[in-house]
Each structure stands twice: as C-alpha cells, then as structure tokens.
Symmetry: C2
Subunit: 483 residues, 2 copies
Amino acid sequence: MLPCLVPRNAVRRRDDRDHTDRIALSAATTDGVHLRTEDVRAWIAERREANAFHVERIPFAEMDQWWFEGATGNLVHRSGRFFAIEGLHVVEHDGPHGDGPYREWQQPVIKQPEVGILGILAKEFNGVLHFLMQAKMEPGNPNLVQLSPTVQATRSNYTKAHGGTNVKLIEYFAPPDPERVIVDVLQAEQGSWFFRKSNRNMIVETVDDVPQEDDFCWLTLGQIAELMHEDETINMNARSVLSCLPYHDTAPGALFSDVQLLSWFTNERSRHDVRAHRIPLKDVGGWKQGVEAIEHEDGRFFNVRAVAVKGSNREKISWTQPLLESVGEGVVAFLMREIEGVPHVLVHARADAGFLDTVELAPTVQRTPLNYAHLPAENRPPFLDFVQDAPRSRIRYEAVHSEEGGRFLNARARYLVVDADGTIDPPPGFAWVTPAQLTALTRHGHYVSVEARTLLACINAAVAQPRGTAALDSLSVHGKARA
Amino acid sequence: MLPCLVPRNAVRRRDDRDHTDRIALSAATTDGVHLRTEDVRAWIAERREANAFHVERIPFAEMDQWWFEGATGNLVHRSGRFFAIEGLHVVEHDGPHGDGPYREWQQPVIKQPEVGILGILAKEFNGVLHFLMQAKMEPGNPNLVQLSPTVQATRSNYTKAHGGTNVKLIEYFAPPDPERVIVDVLQAEQGSWFFRKSNRNMIVETVDDVPQEDDFCWLTLGQIAELMHEDETINMNARSVLSCLPYHDTAPGALFSDVQLLSWFTNERSRHDVRAHRIPLKDVGGWKQGVEAIEHEDGRFFNVRAVAVKGSNREKISWTQPLLESVGEGVVAFLMREIEGVPHVLVHARADAGFLDTVELAPTVQRTPLNYAHLPAENRPPFLDFVQDAPRSRIRYEAVHSEEGGRFLNARARYLVVDADGTIDPPPGFAWVTPAQLTALTRHGHYVSVEARTLLACINAAVAQPRGTAALDSLSVHGKARA
C-alpha cells in the first residue's frame, strides 16, 4: 500500500510549474469532451431518477445497529465502525495562557478517527486536463445527488477490512503513482461539528483508458467553475479538493509578505488557549435528548437526528444512520477588496473547538444567523450585518452550497464574496490576504478551514474562468437557481 | 499584545529574497564585531564562573512546591504553573485504520500547555546580520551554561501573570514588529518525552541600540556555524530556532518534487493510527516509583528525577524542579548521499506518541543504543549499527549536543551526518530529501522534528560556512571537545 518512491539518480525541479500551466489551460476551457456544461444539470437529474433514493427521518429507536451505548450514552455503531456522536466540553481560557475572552460550553460532536480519501482523477483529453466527477447520493443533501470527487472512501472501505464492496477507481489513490500526483494533503473538516477530523484531499492524473461508468463524467476546470455558480451542485468534498489546486499566482504581490502572514497566524495560534475534552454524550449540559432528536435547549446550533436511506447504487442498498441537522441556513462570506488592483479577502483566525491545532483561517463571516437573532446589534458577530445587508451591487459571488451529506442533514449556507469598499480596517483576529496566499497554504493541513476552502474554490474558479479578460467581473455571476 | 498589521495601500513581494541574501552574507562572515569565535568558549566559561550555579539531585520529598497530587499521583507544582509529569497510554493500531505493527505501552510524559517564545534578536553591524545569543544556565545541562536564544520565556513569564521578574528584551518578540520578522513559527519538541508541546520559534531584526548586557553576545551565522561543531555549546532551543532560517536553495532540484515529497508524507501520516491518552501517573504500568526516581522496570528509556538549583541570575535565585534523566547517550544521525551532486538526507517519518499530528520527519537514526542492546541484530532499529560502526572517513559531521536543560537532565546525544555511499534503498517510512526541502518545511509546524531540526541547523551551518567552495568538505570538521 506504500507509494514506491524508487530512487533514481537524477534530480528534478522542486516546483510544479508543469501542473500550474496545465491547470490554467483547463480553467480557460469551458468546452469539455464529455458533456456540455449546460447539460450537466439534466445529467445529474437523470442520475437522481435512475437511482431512486429515498431518505426519511426516523426515531432513534428504529436505527439498525446504531445505539446509545450504555455507560456513556454515546451514539455508536455496534461494529465500532463509521463514526460516533459523543460529547465535548470546551474551555477557552483568558490569561495567562490565552487572551480570551473566557468561554465555556458543552456540545455533541462527531468523532471519526479514520482518515478517508477524497480523490479526483484527472486526465488530458485533446491536450486539456479533465476531472472525473461522480454524481453521488448522500442522504443529508437536500437534493440528494450532487457532484462529488471520483472517490470518497474511508480507510475501512478501501482496505476492505469489513468485506464491503469495491470502491470504484480507488486503485489510483491508494497508493497514488508519485509521478502523477497533483494534490495530496490532509485537510480538516468542520471544527464546530467534528472532533479533529481530517481527510486526504487528492488529485491524481492518469493516462489510462478509464472505463466510462454511468455515474461519472469528465469536466474541465472551466466547466466546474461555471457549475460552482449553481446552487447545491458541487458537494463539499469536491469543493475542498478543488480548493487545493495549485493555481499560479499572477499578482505582483500582497499586502503582507508570506513571512508576515505566517507570523500573524502564529501569533493568533499562540494567543488562543482552547481545551476540548471528550465527555459522555449523556453528560452534555444544555442539550436535551428526545425520541427523534437531541436538541439545544434554546433550539440553536444543530440537532442530532436519525434517517433511514433506501437506495440502489451505493455500497449498501439500504441503511440507517445519524446525521447532524442544521437549525437554519448559514451565511459564509469573504469580504473582498483590491489593493493596487490585487484582490484581497479578509480572513478570520477562528478557534473552533474541534480543530486539531487551535485556529484555522476562516471566512470573514461564518454564522448561522438564527443563532444570533436574539442578540442586540452591538453583540452580533463582526460583519454579519454588513454581509446580510449588502446590496446586490456589492455581491461578487453568491451560491447556496450544502455541507457533507454523509454527516449533515440540510446543512445549507449562502456562500458569498462581498465587496468591502476598501474602507475596512481589520479588527484583531482578522487580516487581508490574497487568494493566492490561501492557495499556497492549502498545500498544508490546518491552515485554511473547510468553509474558507469552499470560498477559495469559488474565487479561483471565478477568477480562472475568463483568463486574460477582466477577471473579477465574472464574480458577479450569481447562482441561477436562487428562489 | 497583537501585532498590528496596519493595512497600507500597497502590495509587496510575497517572498523573502532580501532576508535570504543577508542570511547568506552572515553565514559567509566568520569575523564578528563583538567576540572572536575562538574566544567564545572562554567567554562562556567566564559567565559560568560569574554566576556560580549549583545543581544537585534530591529526593522527591525535598522538592519545594512540587508534589505528587493525591488522586492522580501526577507530579505537579502547587500553583498549577510550569509543567506536570503525567502518564500516557499509547496504542498504535494495525488495520483497518493503520498498517501497524500493533504497539501498546505506557510511560510518564511531560504536559506543558503553555506556548513559550524562543526568540533570537538580529541586527546588522557593518552591514552583516549578527544574532544575539545568551549564555544561559539550565540545570539539566551537563555543563550548565550553553548559548541559548536571546529570549526563552513561557507565556506566564512574559505576560507577568505571576509577578515574575521582567524577561529581558521580550519587547522585541511579544509582539514582533511585522516589518522586522525573519522567522516566526510554532515548532514541536520531543514527541517521546512531551505530550504535544510547541514553542514559538522566532528571529526578529532590530535597528535599535540594544544595551550590552554581560550574558549576551552578538555572533554572525558564520561564527555560530563554527560553534555548532563544538560539543554542548549551542543549546537545543537555539538549534531549533536557527534551523528555521530561510536559506536560499542553490541546488538545481531534488530527487522528488515538493509535491511528491508532501504526498509521500501525507501517506505516512495517513497510514499510522496512533492514539495517546493521558492517564494518572500512578497508573502507569511498567515503571516503578522510588524515593529519588521513577524508573522503567528494565532500566531503559529515562528516569524522572528531582533537582535543587542554586543560582544568581535567573528569574528565581534558587528552586527545585523535576527533570527527565536520560539513561544513556543517544545517537541521532542523518545518512547523506549526493544525487547528481545535490546532497540528500534520509528522513524517517516517525510516529512518536506525543506528536500532535501522528508523524514528523525525523533523522534516519534516533535512538538510545542502551535501549536496544538486549535485542538480536535482526530486531535492532534500521541503520543503527550502520551509523555506530561507521568509520571516521564516512563521518561528515559529529558533535555531542544536549537536549533542553530546563526539562532534561544529562540528555546528551551524538549528532552525526554519515556518508551513505549511494547504495541504500529507503525502506518503507524513509525517503531521500534535500536539506533545502527540509528548510522550506520549517516554515510550518509539525513537519520537521526537533532532532531533525538540530541536524538541519548543523548541516546548513556547515554548508553555509565556505560559500562558493567545496561545501561538503567542511562537514568533516569534527567536534573538538570529544573525549
């Protein structure tokens, strides 16, 4: 299972200039060899029909193999597989080890120790890189089927430890051919819902003839960029992987050098002292457990629910599982401004309880407004009102995306890029950085949060689309499916 | 306390070419403005005399303020400050979440939640960067006084939360001037002795007139490079900080591109499933607690000891504290070979229980031979015998360094760079990388282990010394103080 890095007796360039040139070409190509972009929506709808999935909420007691384990009350699978819902006790300290403010709370959290693979297969057709996307059903997606990476598999899946069916095309990723790797990095997922979960985000090229399967289609980056403007079309895992593409930085620089940016980030990581301890789910204070849901006492944040899934083309034909259900649509936004013509976004060094290493770079705003509706204006999160009240003319990008449908039920958020007008001084914990700087950081884990990666993928897609023309204008193309 | 990244309306270069050019000049300069290199040893001896420290081992019961806490038996300070010695239960899993082999053990471990600052102040004299080193006593150093960074301070220290004395020159580091930061990164320390400890490694430049204090001296990198060949002269914290210096890569490339290297590393991180849980010290199996020491039942690994320190120029005049005492001299070595004339070292993706994120890149060999003396040859760690039996002609670098004297007692290791003869195929978990690739990774935490950073600092120092000449020959200068 190890990639075989056979020593040859030659050195090669350390950078990936060849990759960045071919990625730029793919981003500039909006005609794919397989499907026209305008036909993708119909194709997804066709796959949705072909597989006829049905998902319904059920009481916890009707789950098969899942139960609230005796001593802890944790919601687990009897096999010990998949994931568990446990409790988390979180304290953020003020001085001397942090600069606070002091915060303390308890919440349910998803514990999933396995590192999975999210892999996109790439291949040149007519000299242009195409990416193999899968029309995949996930029970928590409001529209069930979205475009996912070629492969989404846990380690248990792909090592077939539990006798599951084969994961299609996994052989390109476990292990990857070192000569064909474009992206391969462990990236963390939602720090407010997961406890220290990472997945391996991969893009691997092939020159093989890959058999054409019904649920798969090859798309250029230009096509994917257009689809990124559609609501609920590109799933979270695909957005995360695509955000790690090594786009070449064409800007002359940035407000801060990379060393300055890393120094600011190091300071943010140093000044937050967040300690999160797993506790039994039954001991979580402030939440109440019912027959069909575990809910926050004030109805905020999320609910733990159970669903039954009946389908036909997944690893199992039917199953039940828990999901975290969002209590309201989220708002996730970058403020953006130009500095000497170079676009910058306002990142927030956010300390979520489930992060492995204290803080990650998050969007300017990342909130579920419902959770803050009870607060007076002066206590509301910074920039939330600015983003929510932004006139249409200030919105450079907008689409509704949903979070991972294998864990989250109807977890939708409006993703936005909003013009900041150049007048905003960053408060503590915020800094202006270029999308190229964020892209460079996605080579490494624990820098760019999964929500920021979604926006980065959207920005890179939009900017890449009309190469050589006024790039930012394209950001004002809105999601077409807004109600 | 926040660095104030004031937005200006201009972009700058993202890279740090200015820094790398000036670092190269400093490395090429072996005449400093302050002390001649050959006089540094005498100066350190003079500082050792001037401060007249005395350290002695004492029974645990004679410690002041430290005690074995009732319920857990953890060795803690009554104030909750400093650090604690607790227990750790470690399991490395085989399939499906890892590829093993299965390992399980318990051990004492140091828990220190505070992020400290290890900061070196830099300043140009006669157009050449000099670095301000401190002659600092640490009770666990066999020779008590070594050259440390300008500042070594915990957050409690420098925020004066506990009313301690001022930390000299801390104002340059907390916060640093963003215009003057050369290095600023959180780096982890020993994963076999600490549970997830990181310190902030910093180099910050100044143009101020810095008052000349008795225990401080300005040295060029060329001077420090020469001193890195002396035994037990540059302390661990200084070696760690110096390893993060952004040397420019003058080689044409490497055996693997950076993307390939990161992909290999991602695979190594993914395939190890190490779970470490803190447990009460009193429950640690396989160790026995005596009046003066906590020892492994077979006398291996390390002992927990207590010492009393009497001194004059530290924050406290006298104190007692626990230290981890090494049971034998360690061997830490990189194998090195040239590929098309470019030096490469053989890194080991090592999974230590105390690492925050599973594996870090460690030296080829990092062992205390005594711990393996009982094993038959075929079960001994890879390359240990190769390194120990290496003839003098194969040794490119050698010096004895000790680990952090504030936590470890007589923890000495022979640090070596050994010629590999170009015939070694890396076994699983090992890869040939260039020192420049490791240097690039030191910009980020959790890639290059503290032991590998020491060797990297030694290699960069040695290579940097004779710029434009046959660089590697200088690596064969041996520590002069060997017995």
